[in-house]
């Protein structure tokens, strides 16, 4: 019994089918509870007023934007090394979700930044890094879309993801070097005492859990769709071959 067993498309389909509804339901529950709690049942910040409540969307989406790229890197490596097709398809499925998360983080950041810093956009290192991450996502998805042969596309995007990861990290430090910035420190750390009080912290955790579950559910749905599309393609080919 090895974990690689689940990399078989058939096994993956039968395993994820019963899990999927639970994931969807759980993520919906977490998001509704977390967001309602965060928006309506937490006190306003003494300095930032009610605008602070946007962190319940901003922080989880920003975390996911980075973590999704990391997940794509891991699945790309698995594909390059072990040639499990589900892995490559999962990377493909995750990328548009990553784009959406990056966009949400950028837009909510702008909305939050307007009252706080008096500007929608500043070339702050964090904002700039997210913008660059967004460009990396765009290039990755564009390469997937441009290549017809699915295996070739999986190989090339995996190589791009690998090289891109190195350059994304380089860019991050280059941007830090370039401009020191306005953005507050990370809102979260393991030592929560330093950052936010419990009243904000707990609903935020619920929201983050909701975003993670939402991501898992979306990737499962999209990977299942990709597998079905490949299956359809295989059946068509088979018919053409006679």
């Amino acid at each position: 019994m090895s974990i690689w067993e689940y990399a078989n498309p058939k096994k993956f389909m039968t395993t994820t089918a019963p899990v999927l509804p639970w994931m969807v339901a759980l993520s919906a529950l977490c998001l509704v509870v977390g967001l309602v709690w965060g928006f309506f049942f937490t006190p306003d910040d003494y300095r930032q007023g009610s605008t602070v409540k946007i962190i319940y969307i901003h922080v989880p989406s920003a975390m996911m934007a980075i973590n999704i790229w990391a997940m794509m890197l891991v699945t790309s490596l698995i594909w390059l090394i072990r040639r499990h097709h589900v892995s490559a398809l999962a990377a493909r499925a995750a990328a548009p979700v990553g784009i959406a998360m990056t966009l949400i983080a950028l837009v909510t950041g702008a909305i939050w930044g307007q009252p706080m810093w008096g500007t929608w956009w500043a070339w702050d290192p964090r904002l700039t890094s997210f913008l660059i991450l967004f460009l990396f996502y765009l290039g990755y998805v564009a390469l997937w879309e441009a290549i017809d042969n699915p295996d070739t596309a999986a190989d090339l995007t995996s190589v791009l993801c690998l090289v891109g990861s190195v350059f994304a990290i380089l860019s991050r430090y280059a941007v830090l070097f370039w401009n020191q910035g306005l953005h507050q420190g990370a809102s979260l750390s393991l030592d929560k005492e330093e950052n936010v009080a419990d009243v904000f912290w707990i609903p935020l955790l619920v929201c983050i859990a909701g975003f993670v579950l939402l991501f898992i559910a979306l990737v499962l749905i999209r990977t299942r769709t990709e597998i079905r599309a490949r299956r359809l393609h295989a059946i068509r080919m088979r018919q053409r071959m006679g």
Partner: protein
């Protein structure tokens, strides 16, 4: 120096086209590949040349013994005939392009730029490249396209010379080259949907 292909399955665009291809090619032999368009002759040649990995099976040959020539001749329009050949001789670490020029009757054209050659002359130059590679096994994809009768004769003579030196050739062609050759009909090895040839799309279906 022989080329041995065993149980070879290969795919084009992710779809298996040939499976369980077996043959051996000994020095001095020519094997002609036959089959309708799309049967997988080019795919087989590219796999033998090492340009694409086999789905299954093995291609056993001496390392760096196969010279590949396809529809595109790999000529640079702004280089002269001699410069084109010298470049490939340099890349393959051989010297002397005179024999190749003579064999394909290109001496008169040495200083002509490749862009000013006719299609048949370009083809002859592309085939002359095979002689400067110094490799014993030729894998050729339709070598006689756009050649006239006389040029086909030149190619046949060059091929005979190559065989006499212990070379061998795997050729996809439909015309008679004037050399003794075995024929391999690739349609016999057409990949069947049931077996799938180890292609992955199986796991999806």
């Amino acid at each position: 120096m022989s080329l041995v292909v065993e149980n070879l399955s290969c795919a084009r665009g992710g779809i298996p086209v040939l499976e369980r291809v077996c043959f051996a090619l000994n020095p001095g032999e020519v094997l002609v590949l036959r089959g309708p368009n799309g049967a997988g002759k080019t795919t087989l040649l590219r796999t033998v040349a090492g340009l694409q990995p086999p789905l299954a099976g093995t291609v056993e040959a001496e390392p760096e013994s196969v010279a590949y020539a396809a529809h595109a001749d790999g000529l640079k329009a702004t280089l002269t005939v001699a410069e084109n050949l010298e470049f490939w001789a340099g890349i393959f670490g051989t010297s002397g392009i005179d024999a190749a020029l003579t064999a394909f009757d290109l001496e008169a054209l040495v200083d002509r730029h490749a862009q000013n050659l006719s299609a048949g002359q370009k083809r002859r130059l592309g085939l002359a490249r095979l002689l400067v590679t110094g490799r014993p096994v030729w894998a050729l994809d339709e070598p006689t396209v756009s050649l006239d009768v006389a040029s086909v004769g030149l190619f046949g003579a060059a091929l005979k010379g190559h065989l006499a030196q212990g070379g061998s050739a795997l050729i996809a062609t439909h015309i008679d080259l004037g050399v003794e050759a075995r024929v391999l009909d690739v349609t016999e090895f057409r990949a069947t949907p049931e077996a799938g040839g180890g292609a992955f799309d199986e796991a999806f279906a």
